[in-house]
């Protein structure tokens, strides 16, 4: 373990931090192991990693806010020399909010639905002593004034009017701003932001990141940004800490780490991130396998199972974090032995795509309005005259932010919801409002892959049953034939056919999405509608699934509708892209054209907001946006 000397600049020193949970079966689960890092005043530090990497747990452990059975097992957390790991509850309370402010991932649930925004801020201000200043009433008035100031600072328009509104009356981005205001209220030295933009649209994400950067610059508050998004890291932080399997695998200046990763995991992760600059029809390299199961973790390097450089010694001991070059540390024995940085990832490989065939699916002027409860007479228009065509062997990418109507479009095309107007034609035949029997036939042709692999699989059925369900419904084969076909489909989707008798809950996200794909392929459809199929997946897994879909299209000649909010992914997989905004397609064209030569201002804004995992100077980016 390297021991860095304490300097006056060091605000927070974390040494050998370990966190344990007790699993329901009584076994001990080590979520974080031997994490050490320092944070200097005013510094911006990103902690990046995939699910299960221990990044959020580390953040929560700093102020001892571990949920459930979580506890600090080793190490210390020195805040200006005070060890928070040993502090009393009262001392911790004085630190929380006042010295370390926190922002959480999901602004939908992180605010108390029954309290007004003003009350939220008031609670923080009251907790940190602005109470005893004057009389009760004056103190209260003072707090309110301060709350308005704070809301104004984080960019809530008309703060004096909105201070008495409840959280549900704000948009997601505004709620995140309110959370930031709360974190700032105690004028902390450190702002700890745990995936602050993950649930937000790209354009909103951009605004929030800008706000955080401004705050860091103006108030000198150190920022610890926990994220899974390399683009966000590149965009916001000077230094980055890469975590995997509960340990820090690499630590160094962002520019250095992103361009010359030393740890094979970092390298693999960067290679898996889709880049907007990559042209259509290229293939990403994912990291094989899936993030580790912490309960099964042995003594060796957590990444050993997925590593290309793995050696025998990697499996016997946890590699120490050693300084490899100036300011860059990595925890990898093979990498430490190398003098050269790892070779740059291979540029995305171009894949040969068969030419597209005849038009299979055609939509013309689709409309869909949802009746909104409580609002009399007025509905929410999700689709407002959408027209598109899809050819055999073609991938049509549909991009848009939340509320743009892209998911509704998917559902209307897949006949999960009826449209209110317009027509859908399948191979020239009008199937807008099919009769029951006809609908059955249409559904055999058009299948769907869902966004959330957790929610779209029936938790009560085994994988085999789930995949066999469409076969039964469409009356395909007898029992034995079905079993054989299920095995075939699972293999096709990259799963071991032996898993057929297990339940979805024993699979990881990526594997579940493979199950969903196997199910969708079961009736041998000609059109596959993929509604955000990779949004819920880790980056390394995302590349695998995208690759799978591309392969399937090539092999089966499928027509794909690929819906996503991430332009980079869409560009890679799609022949053509349609950009949706407020229920309308605002622009469509070939994938490369749209990304390189956008016409619609909205498309341009989307492109500008997409964070790229390339270190850039913020000032430069801004001018880009303006241009």
């Amino acid at each position: 373990m390297t021991h860095q000397p304490t300097s006056a600049q060091d605000l927070l020193q974390v040494r050998d931090l370990g966190v344990e949970f007790t699993a329901p079966d009584g076994s001990t689960l080590r979520a974080v192991r031997g994490v050490s890092f320092t944070l200097r005043r005013g510094e911006t530090l990103a902690v990046v990693g995939e699910s299960g990497s221990g990044k959020s747990t580390t953040a929560l452990a700093l102020t001892r806010m571990l949920p459930g059975t979580g506890r600090l097992s080793t190490g210390s957390v020195l805040l200006d020399g005070q060890d928070l790991a040993a502090a009393s509850a009262e001392e911790l309370r004085a630190v929380r909010g006042a010295r370390i402010g926190m922002i959480f991932q999901d602004p939908m649930t992180a605010l108390n639905p029954v309290l007004t925004v003003g009350r939220h801020l008031d609670e923080v201000l009251r907790a940190h002593g602005s109470r005893e200043k004057h009389g009760r009433r004056q103190a209260k008035a003072a707090r309110r004034t301060r709350a308005v100031e704070l809301l104004d600072r984080v960019g809530i328009p008309e703060p004096h009017r909105r201070i008495d509104d409840h959280p549900h009356q704000f948009s997601g981005g505004q709620r995140q701003r309110i959370l930031i205001a709360m974190a700032l209220a105690g004028e902390p030295d450190i702002l700890l932001a745990d995936e602050p933009t993950t649930a937000l649209d790209a354009t909103v994400q951009e605004q929030i990141l800008t706000l955080l950067a401004d705050l860091n610059r103006e108030t000198g508050t150190a920022l610890v940004l926990i994220t899974h998004n390399m683009g966000v890291v590149a965009r916001s932080c000077a230094r980055v800490l890469v975590m995997y399997g509960g340990t820090v695998v690499e630590d160094g200046p962002t520019a250095e780490v992103l361009t010359r990763p030393r740890h094979p995991y970092t390298a693999g992760l960067l290679a898996a991130v889709p880049r907007l600059s990559a042209p259509s029809g290229t293939r990403l390299t994912g990291i094989p396998g899936s993030p580790p199961d912490l309960t099964l973790l042995g003594d060796g390097c957590a990444f050993a199972e997925r590593c290309t450089l793995v050696e025998d010694r990697c499996r016997t001991g946890v590699p120490p974090l050693v300084e490899l070059t100036d300011g860059v540390r990595a925890a990898c024995l093979p990498a430490a032995a190398r003098t050269e940085p790892l070779p740059a990832p291979a540029p995305p490989a171009r894949i040969d795509r068969p030419a597209t065939g005849a038009v299979v699916l055609e939509a013309d002027g689709l409309r869909k309005t949802y009746k909104r409860r409580g609002v009399r007479g007025r509905g929410f228009t999700a689709l407002d005259g959408v027209s598109l065509t899809l050819a055999e062997g073609e991938t049509l990418g549909i991009v848009g932010e939340s509320g743009s109507g892209k998911s509704t479009l998917a559902r209307v095309l897949a006949h999960a919801h009826p449209s209110d107007g317009g027509t859908v034609r399948l191979r020239g035949q009008d199937v807008t409002r099919p009769a029951r029997r006809e609908l059955h036939a249409v559904r055999r042709q058009i299948q769907m892959v869902f966004q959330d692999p957790y929610a779209s699989l029936n938790p009560r059925m085994t994988v085999g049953q789930i995949v066999a369900e469409p076969l039964i419904s469409f009356g395909l084969g007898d029992r034995d034939e079905r079993d054989a076909r299920v095995a075939e489909l699972l293999t096709l989707a990259g799963l071991d056919p032996a898993v057929a008798d297990r339940h979805p809950r024993s699979f990881s996200g990526g594997q579940r999405q493979r199950i969903g794909i196997a199910r969708a392929l079961a009736p041998e459809p000609s059109v596959l509608i993929c509604d955000e199929p990779v949004s819920a997946l880790d980056v390394s897994v995302q590349a695998q699934i995208v690759g799978l879909l591309t392969d399937l299209q090539r092999d089966l000649g499928l027509a794909l509708v690929f819906i996503a909010h991430d332009l980079a992914v869409v560009r890679q997989v799609s022949h053509r892209i349609a950009v949706m905004h407020q229920g309308r397609i605002v622009e469509s064209g070939s994938a490369d054209d749209i990304c390189e030569n956008p016409q619609d201002p909205y498309t341009r804004a989307l492109l500008a907001a997409a964070p790229e995992p390339v270190p850039v100077k913020p000032a430069l980016r801004k001018t880009e946006v303006l241009a």
């Binding site: 079966d25 299960g52 979580g70 999901d106 959330d452 029936n458 369900e469 819920a536």
Partner: protein, 301 residues
């Protein structure tokens, strides 16, 4: 009248990534059936032992009881430990141990019919409600009506109409259970129907009935399992209350409720009279509620 107002939709931002607790992944290992997991907790085991003991005692009544439950003697209100009468005797000199054991038997016979009947009827109503909005309104009003009616008055009226015996007891219990199960299942169906796996099943070509039976019901049924345990408790109470009001099972057949209500006038002079049935009822109800709690925890996960 929906008693739980539906939440108004929040702003339509979709969740990109499920919020995950840091200890996620630990659940992956538990591939056992959730109910079995729930029933193997210490709490549920205690409950199972209690209920099991009571049920076993009831089933083995003919072997365990030394006397016929209706055999009278001149020995009124003999105390606990009287030779031949371990729990003593009642006012008519009947052996209390036998009466309690046979009482358990009678109660089990009633609740084992009444609760399933109520549950099935309630579920049928819920299915009807799920089928069509008009039916839904109608069914909900029916539930309201049942809930609004004072149960014991209903019990008196039903017994007066049907005459004494098990039938009115079973009927009243079943009636009381209908809205409990019906509302629960209706709510469950409404929630599950919006789940994505249901859309997936429909897109996968499953017919309406198949989606309901194969996909929605198994998932909506979880709370019903808990409700069964709760309802069994309620059933024991209803039986008791009806006996107390003199409209229970036809005498002289003992039920836990009737022995208990017969003991009430002697509570001061012969407390042992009430002790047997009271302890039995308490053990049964306690056991059931422990099981319900354990299941409930598992279901809520």
């Amino acid at each position: 009248m929906t008693s739980t107002p539906d939440l108004a939709p929040a702003s339509p931002a979709t969740l990109r990534k499920p919020v995950r607790a840091p200890q996620k992944g630990t659940l992956r290992k538990t591939s056992r059936h959730p109910y079995r997991a729930a029933l193997s907790t210490a709490r549920a085991r205690t409950g199972l032992v209690l209920v099991g003991a009571v049920v076993l005692a009831g089933l083995l009544a003919p072997l365990l009881a030394g006397h016929g439950p209706t055999d009278q003697s001149g020995l009124s209100l003999a105390g606990v430990g009287t030779p031949g009468h371990p729990l003593g005797t009642d006012d008519l000199g009947r052996d209390l141990l036998s009466r309690v054991l046979y009482g358990i038997r009678a109660d089990l016979g009633i609740i084992a019919i009444a609760v399933p009947v109520g549950a099935v009827l309630g579920c049928l109503f819920a299915l009807a409600a799920a089928a069509h909005p008009v039916l839904d309104t109608l069914v909900q009003r029916i539930f309201d009506l049942i809930l609004a009616f004072p149960g014991l008055i209903l019990a008196l009226a039903v017994t007066a109409i049907l005459g004494p015996g098990r039938l009115p007891v079973v009927l009243v219990i079943a009636l009381a259970e209908i809205p409990a199960f019906g509302r629960l299942l209706r709510g469950g169906i409404l929630v599950q129907r919006e789940r994505e796996y249901v859309t997936a099943a429909r897109v996968g070509g499953s017919s309406g009935p198949r989606v309901l039976v194969r996909h929605i019901l198994p998932n909506a049924a979880d709370p019903l399992i808990v409700q069964v345990a709760v309802s069994l408790t309620v059933a024991v109470f209803i039986e008791g209350a009806m006996s107390f009001l003199g409209v229970g099972v036809r005498p002289p057949e003992p039920t836990l409720g009737s022995v208990l209500s017969q003991s009430m006038p002697y509570l001061a002079q012969a407390p042992h009279f009430a002790a047997g049935p009271l302890i039995t009822v308490t053990a049964l109800v306690l056991g059931l509620s422990l099981i319900a709690e354990a299941l409930n925890r598992e279901v809520r996960r």
